[in-house]
């Protein structure tokens, strides 16, 4: 059917009313609130970092009263009026990136120009099988002020408070603490939580356990770098961090417990008061509770025995975990923390 000129003119007038009611500069807003701060301990972050277009779910990026009502069923114009380019473009756009980026050979290593399989990762020249002309340790934490490499350690050394990955169970919950101010979710990491010693942190519930991460190490604190058994860890103001990979990004897992402070002279961060008192931990009624039980639970959990979130109460789950540990170590599965069991646990 051919549209009549009268219908076309009428449609144009109606559209003009809808489209140009408000001024164009009011209509066009990018709706992005950019704060380049990152999730870092100390609570000095604020806002969220990342590509500004990634507005966190549930967070309002621009005031509701600035939203222009648009007819829901009309198509977007292909010949838009000249609208001002948004001045609130993300500050993290490439133009603002530091100029210390290594000079990658454009003609050879850029993907678009790569001839076949000639310069795929395995064929890259340079040290090992990696691109060659990049700055050495350009942005390693240890090279920044406030970071110092750790002293030489014996093979197999584990820093005090060390726990392997996966030590937090899937049901782990962040410690309850009122944050100093509300912080919107991060576009990538999601909800933030706060704890004084950790600052702002986020969690990841993956298939096997819960991980507690920060995006960067605390810049205001001096951190000691520790390399051990294929892992890189940092002790910053008594909190142990482990360099990790999550969502294809480098993050730092907080290994320490909330109330736990790592002391350089501590050989495990485990209380030994139960031995001094001569008490024997086991399942009793009423149940035993305290730091001794908490230390036992942490140690069992660190060794992979599932007992839920360590809470300092010797319950049935702790009893099962202790008996399992005893069985696995050729000890009598009594559920009682005997001297032999304590010794096997490293207490």
């Amino acid at each position: 059917m051919r549209a009549s000129p009268i219908f076309a003119a009428l449609f144009a007038v109606i559209f003009a009313i809808f489209a140009f009611g408000p001024a164009p500069e009011r209509v066009v807003t990018l709706g992005v609130s950019v704060d380049s701060a990152e999730a870092r301990p100390g609570g000095r972050g604020g806002g969220f970092k990342g590509r500004a277009h990634m507005r966190p779910k549930g967070a309002r990026a621009r005031p509701a009263n600035r939203a222009r009502p648009r007819p829901g069923n009309r198509a977007r114009p292909s010949t838009r009026p000249n609208r001002p380019r948004p001045s609130t473009r993300p500050s993290t756009r490439p133009s603002t990136r530091p100029s210390t980026r290594p000079n990658r050979p454009v003609a050879e290593n850029r993907p678009g120009n790569r001839p076949g399989a000639g310069n795929r990762p395995g064929n890259r020249p340079g040290t090992g099988n990696r691109p060659g002309n990049r700055p050495i340790a350009g942005n390693r934490p240890a090279n920044r002020p406030g970071y110092r490499p750790g002293r030489p350690r014996p093979p197999g050394y584990r820093p005090p408070g060390y726990r392997p990955p996966h030590w937090r169970p899937p049901a782990w919950r962040p410690p309850a603490y009122r944050p100093p101010y509300p912080r919107p979710p991060h576009w990538r990491w999601g909800s933030y939580y706060y704890y004084p010693r950790w600052g702002w942190y986020f969690t990841a519930a993956l298939a096997t356990s819960t991980f507690v991460y920060v995006a960067t190490l605390p810049r205001e604190k001096e951190c000691e770098e520790i390399r051990s058994e294929g892992e890189t860890m940092y002790v910053c103001d008594g909190v142990l961090y482990r360099s990790s990979v999550y969502q294809d990004e480098q993050v730092y897992e907080i290994v320490s417990e909330p109330e736990e402070v790592i002391d350089a002279g501590d050989q495990g961060g485990v209380s030994e008061s139960y031995a001094a008192q001569g008490s024997v931990l086991q399942l009793t009624s009423p149940r035993m509770r305290g730091d001794d039980v908490l230390a036992l639970q942490r140690e069992l959990s660190a060794r992979g025995y599932e007992l839920g979130t360590p809470d300092g109460v010797f319950g049935p789950a702790t009893d099962r975990a202790l008996r399992s540990f005893q069985e696995d170590n050729d000890l009598a599965p009594s559920g009682v923390l005997t001297e032999q069991t304590a010794s096997a646990l490293g207490f």
């Binding site: 449609f11 678009g112 399989a117 395995g122 090992g128 350009g138 482990r242 360099s243 990790s244 969502q247």
Partner: protein
């Protein structure tokens, strides 16, 4: 008429013009409708035009071809839209190259903005490295490429770039769920003669250009449109420099760290989910 109203009029006219334009999709639908109407006549007409190629069959041939290759590599360039606040559409890019030798290894490199990542898998150890950030993370994993993809997604929330194309079970994954399939036509794209095929589904429409080469029906270009999302964001993947018989060495799938590289932790990819523990307890009993 004010000046501000002129673009509105132009747009209104453009809408009217668009309604009479034969867009490819509309053309495909019109064509199929006309063919359906003229079908009885065509059956009796000896000079009828050759039958239109089967869109799904072309795609299936392509994925079966890829799944049957013992080794191949390609370069890729992906652009994708992000619609902010359902209004502002921004486009970002990612590019890289992939190489797989079935049963031996896989390697890929990816560049997204200033973020570089290299991936290595030699059948026993997976490594992701950040060449410009001087860290890498390795884990033992001997369950094969397809299982590696699942483990990485579940335990590190990491997705290997364009892994779908390299999966050996690609034909089994080709459950399109499309409501409509159309063979748009034969065309030339980037110097390659290719079939242009379009699928439409409830949540996503996608188009694919497949090389018109019986010996190498590789995908050249893929465009997806999330029609169920505000702003209809798209992604576009350009696959080029196909190498169907790459010369590789085992060293290509093994990462060799520099002395300045710091190891980072990667969760145990082979760890059993804790949800399996009750079952194991029952087994012990």
């Amino acid at each position: 008429m004010s000046v501000n109203a002129l673009p509105a009029l132009a747009w209104a006219l453009a809408l009217i013009c668009a309604s009479s334009m034969n867009a490819p999709w509309a053309a495909a639908q019109d064509q199929s409708t006309e063919q359906a109407q003229e079908a009885p006549a065509a059956e009796s007409d000896e000079a009828a035009e050759p039958e239109e190629p089967d869109a799904e069959a072309i795609v299936l041939d392509s994925v079966e071809f890829l799944a049957g290759l013992p080794a191949f590599g390609f370069n890729w360039f992906v652009s994708y839209d992000v619609v902010d606040d359902g209004r502002e559409k921004l486009t970002f890019t990612r590019s890289g190259s992939n190489l797989i030798v079935r049963g031996e290894g896989f390697s890929a490199s990816s560049e997204e903005g200033f973020k570089l990542r290299d991936y290595y898998y030699d059948g026993e150890t997976f490594t992701v490295s950040a060449p410009e950030e001087d860290f890498y993370a390795s884990r033992k994993f001997d369950q094969g490429f397809e299982a590696l993809v699942v483990a990485l997604r579940e335990r590190t929330d990491t997705v290997l770039p364009l892994w779908t194309i390299m999966a050996e079970d690609l034909p089994d994954r080709m459950v399109t769920g499309a409501d409509l399939a159309a063979y748009v036509g034969l065309t030339r794209i980037g110097g390659v003669v290719a079939h242009h095929i379009a699928f439409a589904g409830y949540q996503e429409d996608w188009q694919i250009w497949i090389a018109d080469d019986p010996d190498a029906p590789v995908p050249i270009y893929i465009v997806g449109t999330e029609s169920d999302e505000k702003g209809w964001p798209q992604y576009r993947a350009w696959l080029s420099d196909w190498d169907l018989a790459p010369e590789t060495t085992p060293e290509q799938f093994v990462f060799t760290p520099d002395e300045n590289d710091l190891p980072a932790a990667l969760p145990d990819l082979a760890a059993r989910p804790t949800t399996a523990e009750p079952a194991s307890e029952e087994a012990q009993q």
